[in-house]
Amino acid sequence: MRRFRRLSIVDVILLALRVVVVVGVAVGSWATLSAGQLRGDQWRDLLVFGVAQGSVYALIALGYTLVYGVLLMINFAHGDVFMFGGMTAFFVADALSRAGFLEANPILGMTAVLLVAMFSSMVLAILLERLAYRPLRRAPRLVPLITAIGASLFISNSVRGLYGEQVKAYPALTILQGKVDLLGIPILKTHLVVIISALLIMLALYWFVERTRTGRAMRAISEDKDTAALMGINVDRIIAVTFAVGGMLAGAAGVLYALVFNQVHWFMGFLPGIKAFTAAVLGGIGNIIGAMLGGLSLGVLESVAPALLLSGFNVPSPNQLRDVVAFSVLVLVLIFRPYGILGRPEGR
């Protein structure tokens, strides 16, 4: 029936938008590639960096997706849960580094830092759910979203008050300096460590959701909360567990982010948070594999696209516009394919 609807102004604008995007992408990439502005190895470096930051995005995106799966709610404050983990673990990393422990036992030291970050983010996520979201279970849909925005602002500014405003530099490990050769491709050691750890954590999560009792309960709730409750699942507890797991992933992402970018600060939750949400939507929100793929593709897109699309148009300093790429992906995906790459349209 949809086909026979009258063409409205909205359809025209949407069509125009599609044409502009497709033509823009095609012309931009063609111009850049034919001009040969970047060498092959530069493209490869961009790609590797994209995968590294994408795996961080993927970890955060999993938190969005898990919570959305069980509560159908966008946990806007998730980016700040991520930031809190990275910030809190900084003090442990700093103390260990000053004591010389981090240099002596880098693996043990970094694991400790990672665990602290995961633990602190987990505690914050549980508190957030308990204090801000649980009272709103039956409220109209926008109410929890507004609460989440408020919580995001509250958490980031609390951290600013508690830990101070200045940017904090994570200690650099000598063992992570330089590059390694992987199948003939030289990769920065930090990037390799970040990608591998993210993959391991994601595998653990996949096992948890697919193979454990609690994971099964989570899946049951995301299918149908009320029936799950009738089957004897303690819905409140499982929702709290979901927030806890999401928080742990975000905390780990906080440390990995600090490894890639070397520094943490109180406002760093906002952009990665939005980008990770974009990744979650890109992969189909509520879909765990989707969030992983979405994160990786967004990371790569964000790293490659400014150079690929914009330098073709001779735009000055295209790297300034890398956030625009992420936001454009967000806007376009939500407008044209809100169910994501792996999702299926609902109710149509």
Partner: protein, 569 residues
């Protein structure tokens, strides 16, 4: 016996919460920021009141249950003591271990203030005693009858508020030759003890007297004939208008500046209120319209902008508003078919994209990149006007105030008329249930677009006024925080409520300007306001009647809600 144990556990639990709150206020830096501001000089500083407030409030809460006055008072005392004990442990700990490397605000200055400069152990003991007394006082207030409680609480709040107004009241009283009153009221940035007692008494009497006087006046007005009633209403409106016109003259230059900000945010909030409050579309990218308004105005009116036009403001304004409405349509059209929360995120994306584009080097020839656009002429084309009859000199903020007041009045009038029009009812229906609205013949897409375009126009108007006030425009002004600030104003005041918008911007924009120490914690408070309002009072402080019913609908219709619904669609 059972009741007693329940009360004990309750008291200890609330005491723990209170202690946690106190530690939060200390470590986040709020207490120290307000430690220099006296409420009653020589007796208590505002920072101290903040330390006392949690045990007081939670003592009040603890005493809400339980039987027997003595028991309830005891529970309140226990709450306070528990809270004080947590603070004491913290103080002793901090005196032994330096944690400034992590929690940067825990400085010697802070501990000295909290300890009364008496060392860790003595200071901790004093704090336990004070917190216990506060808990007991809170419980006492709860135990007494409402007849005493209301005047007491409002008088205490009155003293705090009057003391906060010192930086403005004192200089203004001096300007008007009333320095005697100023000297009587204030000393060392706080109320004098005598003045505090007088203010307390005035507020207490006013709280008791106000409802009685109001009822009497209402009855007398109701007794007159309809013609007189209309005259009275007209006179009230006239007095209000005259008051608003004279306000900058009474308030002085600095407070006028604050008024301009309050007016600006009122205007923005009136616009967003149409989108969020009436049509129920959560727009987090409202700042984009504000930015478009500012940049368009600057482009058209500034002689040194890329266009070199230098148009007068009033000629540029229609073009700006038209451009804004078109931007609203352009942004609105693709996103309006999205569900509520996705719409919010997409608009947020648009807002950020606009900011980055205005900032970028790519569009620098047009928008000036990080430098922005300078030399925007003032709104009325001149910098100074003198009104001969009244002897008023208008310049700077007072000059911006009047056009702004006019725009706010127009926007409020339009919003008010729209609300009760056919369009307003369509919005209402759409917000409550989109499918049903569509089924009853409301063209939802067109009505959503209309709301978006109207909101965008008002936002642009705000941007236009703002840019003429600052005489320049910078991309840094247009962060997501503006959108969230405006949203907080609407949420605090009440979605869909026009008086609520004014109350909200007075509280969230005016108050932080009055309390300079507060500025640093402004965003923290906005975040807190959003969370607390949504959890405790989603209809806002000055609620709109329909909206309140809507938000409490779920409670009334709980059994129906429990059915598995098609929420995922």
């Amino acid at each position: 016996m059972n009741d007693g144990r329940g009360l004990l556990r309750r008291a200890l639990w609330f005491g723990f919460i209170s202690g946690a709150l106190v530690l939060y206020l200390i470590t986040v830096g709020i207490v120290l920021a307000f430690s220099a501001r006296n409420t009653i000089t020589g007796v208590v500083a505002l920072g101290r009141l903040m330390l006392v407030a949690p045990p007081l409030a939670l003592g009040f809460v603890t005493a809400a249950q339980g039987t027997g006055t003595a028991r309830r008072l005891g529970a309140g005392l226990l709450t306070g003591l528990a809270s004080g004990l947590i603070l004491a442990i913290f103080l002793v700990f901090v005196s032994a271990v330096d944690i400034r490397g992590i929690l940067v605000r825990v400085s010697p200055a802070l501990t000295t203030f909290v300890n009364f400069d008496k060392g860790a152990t003595t200071g901790a003991a004093i704090n336990v005693a004070i917190a216990g007394a506060a808990g007991l006082l809170g419980a006492g207030v709860r135990v007494m009858t409402a007849r005493f409680r209301r005047p007491l609480v409002s008088a205490a709040l009155g003293v705090v508020i009057v003391s906060m107004l010192e930086p403005f009241l004192y200089p203004r009283l001096t300007d008007f030759g009333l320095i005697v009153i100023g000297r009587f009221l204030f000393d060392h940035k706080g109320l004098t003890v005598v003045a505090a007692i007088v203010v307390f008494a005035i507020f207490a009497v006013a709280t008791v007297g106000w409802p009685i006087a109001r009822r009497a006046t209402r009855q007398r007005i109701a007794a007159t004939d309809p013609g007189t009633q209309a005259t009275i209403r007209g006179m009230t409106l006239l007095v209000l208008i005259l008051f608003l016109l004279a306000l900058p003259q009474i308030a002085g230059a600095f407070l006028s500046q604050v008024l301009v900000f309050v007016g600006l945010y009122t205007l923005l909030a009136l616009g967003l209120n149409i989108v969020v409050g009436y049509a129920g579309l959560l727009d987090l990218g409202y700042v984009a319209f504000y930015a478009v308004g500012s940049y368009l105005t600057a482009l058209l009116t500034s002689p040194i902008s890329a266009l070199h036009l230098g148009l007068p403001f009033w000629i540029a304004l229609p073009i700006v508003i038209l451009g804004a409405a078109l931007t609203g349509l352009f942004i609105g059209a693709p996103v309006l078919r999205l569900r509520g929360d996705y719409l919010a995120i997409v608009t947020l994306g648009f807002g950020e994209i606009s900011r980055i584009l205005f900032l970028s080097d790519a569009l620098k020839p047009w928008f000036g990149g990080a430098q922005g656009i300078l030399s925007v002429p003032p709104l009325l084309g001149v910098n100074h006007i003198s009104v001969p009859i009244l002897g008023w000199e208008l310049s700077g903020p007072t000059l911006t105030y009047y056009p702004l007041l006019f725009f706010c009045a127009v926007a409020a009038f339009v919003a008010y008329r729209l609300k009760y029009s056919r369009v307003g009812r369509a919005w209402n229906a759409m917000r409550e249930d989109e499918d049903v609205a569509q089924a009853t013949g409301v063209n939802t897409v067109n009505h959503k677009l209309l709301a978006f375009a109207l909101g965008a126009s008002v936002g642009c108007l705000g941007g236009a006024v703002f840019v003429t006030h600052l005489a320049s425009v910078f991309p840094g002004t247009f962060s997501i925080l503006v959108s969230i600030t405006v949203l907080s104003i609407i949420i605090l005041g009440g979605m869909g409520s026009i008086p609520g918008v004014v109350v909200g911007s007075l509280a969230l924009i005016g108050l932080p300007e009055l309390l300079r120490e507060f500025a640093e914690f402004k965003l923290l408070v906005y975040g807190g306001v959003l969370v607390v309002m949504m959890v405790a009072r989603p209809e806002g402080l000055v609620p709109d009647v329909t909206r309140r019913r809507e938000l409490h609908e779920a409670e009334a219709a709980e059994p129906v809600e429990a059915l598995p619904s098609s929420e995922g669609a």
